[in-house]
């Protein structure tokens, strides 16, 4: 009898242990999802800002049509992207194009003095920062979640209930580091 009770107690303890791991996994996964939602909000915000920016800048920047076309193109690419990887790719191209625009602004003192543009520029900087902070938070959450999935003993529970590792949101630095082309025509 006593052995049976001990056996039962051990079983119950093991079950409780697994339940707590399962709950921890769920919590981490929800945090990852929430962090992703935050990035998504900020990316949308940037997409919304762009038409406004183009509209303000158009009248001043007559020589930068290529950059503006790129911005519009990458924006629509980014809006149609599906997976995390695709999104990261398109968004980094968009960041690069916006960076180029920012460099060119230096050549247009009238534009730099325009209050509407200054306000827009602050909004754009803030949105870029928010994207990168949201990304930072998302990647931290993904790291913790993935660690939990890979480590023993939580990997057993993760395997049983089909918890899958999440993808990091990595911005490829290629576009951002690209030197803006200077044209003399």
């Amino acid at each position: 009898m006593i052995y049976f009770i001990i056996f039962l107690a051990v079983i119950v303890l093991i079950i409780l242990f697994f339940v707590s791991i399962y709950n921890a996994l769920i919590r981490l996964r929800n945090q990852v999802k929430n962090a992703w939602a935050q990035i998504d909000v900020q990316l949308k915000r940037r997409h919304d800002l762009i038409p406004n920016l183009i509209e303000t800048v158009k009248g001043y920047m007559t020589h930068e049509r290529q950059i503006m076309e790129n911005i519009t193109k990458y924006r629509s690419q980014a809006m149609n992207a599906q997976t995390v990887g695709e999104k990261a790719q398109a968004e980094s191209l968009l960041s690069g194009a916006l960076g180029q625009l920012r460099v060119q602004v230096e050549n247009y003192p009238d534009l730099k003095a325009n209050q509407n543009f200054l306000a827009l520029q602050e909004e754009l900087t803030a949105t870029e920062n928010k994207i990168s902070f949201a990304r930072q938070n998302y990647n931290d959450q993904v790291l913790m979640y993935n660690n939990k999935i890979q480590m023993f003993p939580s990997n057993i529970v993760a395997g049983m209930f089909n918890f899958k590792e999440e993808e990091f949101f990595e911005i490829k630095d290629v576009a951002e580091k690209e030197v803006p082309k200077v044209s003399f025509n």
Binding site: Q115, F117, T125, N129, A134, Q136, D140, N147
Partner: protein
């Protein structure tokens, strides 16, 4: 973050009971001094009632009182977009659901504080001087520091600790005044037996010792915790922004400012990011100052070259301090993941335009004082004082007529 809150809660509880015990002891001894038979209970009762009232007051109205005393005014996004954005950025970086209210204090001395016992009703207040001296990254560092105070629940801890300290100080004050004016126990003449007289003397000595040491002990305890929380908030800020240089530069600018904060006093001083009362002090002042020396905070932040995780901060702290002292709770150190800092933002100050920043800060203060702003199509910002009562204003550059409501 979760572990930080947990360990803070535990610490709050230990502090809570520790100081509470000191409070009850003081209440009992002082009470017994006045009336050996029933006084102890009355003293304890008095101490607890005083504490409950003051705690409730600071819990429910503390942050409102603090904000009102410092002359802070709540701002919306349009008053100072950059400040609002920076706060939102830090909210996102911390991954928290609440959005602190934002206040601006019209004061040329650069400083900032956070308040609110619950994160949901928390607030961050900065001076207009801070806005006009710091660039975006430095402002981010300061806001990250304040956000960390909120996220780590430091404000709750400091509020309760502060109230305990206040009650203990008030009680010993009352005791000394009573001794001075009343000359001692009312019941002394009644107690005729020798042994009770002896007990009376012991109680009196004990009471005097407690009256002298109680407030000092409570204060040292309070200051020690306050300083630890400052380091911790610096560590969290470095982790949030991934750019410790921003906060380091900000602290340097704040320390070098010659302005003195008008609205600060002894009670509100521990709340600010940099102690607004004392000039950066000598080592001797360390034990009794609410804030760690700024130079040391800057040195630690600047030494965070390889990483900005809590582990790195603890390591660098010990290296610079030269002694082992736990700044970051163990449970957090165990969980903390490697975090690399952002490098290469150092030319940011080149983009910073001090005139523009000062104008932005002035505009914010003007907006707080009900000035009306109109952005003309030609790019000119027209500022209309509240007592301007004509229906139309003409843009000084392009001559456009703007209709006023």
């Amino acid at each position: 973050m979760w572990e930080l809150i947990q360990s803070n809660r535990r610490k709050s509880l230990i502090l809570f009971f520790g100081m509470g015990a000191l409070l009850i002891l003081i209440g009992y001894v002082f009470g017994s001094y006045y009336d050996p038979e029933a006084g102890g209970v009355v003293g304890v009762f008095f101490a607890i009632v005083l504490w409950v009232i003051l705690s409730a007051l600071s819990y429910f109205a503390g942050s409102k009182i603090l904000l009102a005393v410092s002359g802070a005014k709540e701002v919306t996004k349009d008053v100072h977009p950059q400040l609002y954005n920076v706060v939102e950025e830090m909210k996102i970086a911390a991954g928290v659901p609440f959005f602190p209210k934002i206040y601006i204090i019209d004061d040329p001395a650069p400083n900032a504080f956070a308040t609110g016992v619950k994160p949901e009703n928390s607030a961050i207040a900065v001076t207009s001087g801070l806005l006009s001296t710091l660039n975006r990254y430095e402002l981010q560092g300061v806001v990250a520091h304040e956000m960390s105070h909120i996220v780590n629940r430091d404000i709750l801890l400091m509020t309760f600790a502060g109230v305990m300290l206040g009650v203990i100080t008030i009680m010993s004050d009352i005791f000394f005044r009573g001794m001075y004016f009343g000359g001692g126990s009312r019941y002394r003449s009644r107690s005729s037996s020798k042994s009770s007289g002896q007990a009376q003397v012991i109680v009196m000595i004990l009471a005097i010792i407690l009256a002298i040491l109680g407030p000092v002990l409570a204060q040292l305890f309070y200051f020690a915790i306050s300083r630890k929380r400052e380091y911790l908030a610096d560590a969290s800020a470095a982790r949030l922004t991934r750019y410790p240089e921003g906060l380091a530069n900000a602290l340097e600018k704040i320390a070098n400012s010659t302005h003195k904060l008008r609205s600060a006093n002894k009670v509100t001083a521990p709340m600010y990011i940099v102690n607004p009362l004392k000039r950066e002090g000598m080592k001797l002042a360390d034990l009794t100052s609410t804030h760690p020396p700024i130079s040391e905070r800057i040195k630690i932040l600047r030494a965070l070259q390889q990483g900005v995780s809590y582990n790195d901060y603890q390591r660098v702290f010990e290296m610079i301090h030269g002694k082992k002292e736990k700044i970051i709770p163990d449970s957090v150190l165990k969980e903390s993941i490697a975090v690399t800092p952002v490098i290469g933002l150092t030319n940011e100050d080149k983009d910073f335009n001090p005139i523009e920043a000062r104008r932005e800060a002035n505009d914010a203060v003007m907006k707080l004082n009900d000035y009306n702003f109109i952005n003309c199509k030609c790019g000119v910002k027209i500022k209309i004082p509240p007592d301007y009562n004509k229906p139309i204003v003409v843009c000084p550059r392009c001559g456009t007529r703007h209709q006023l409501r």
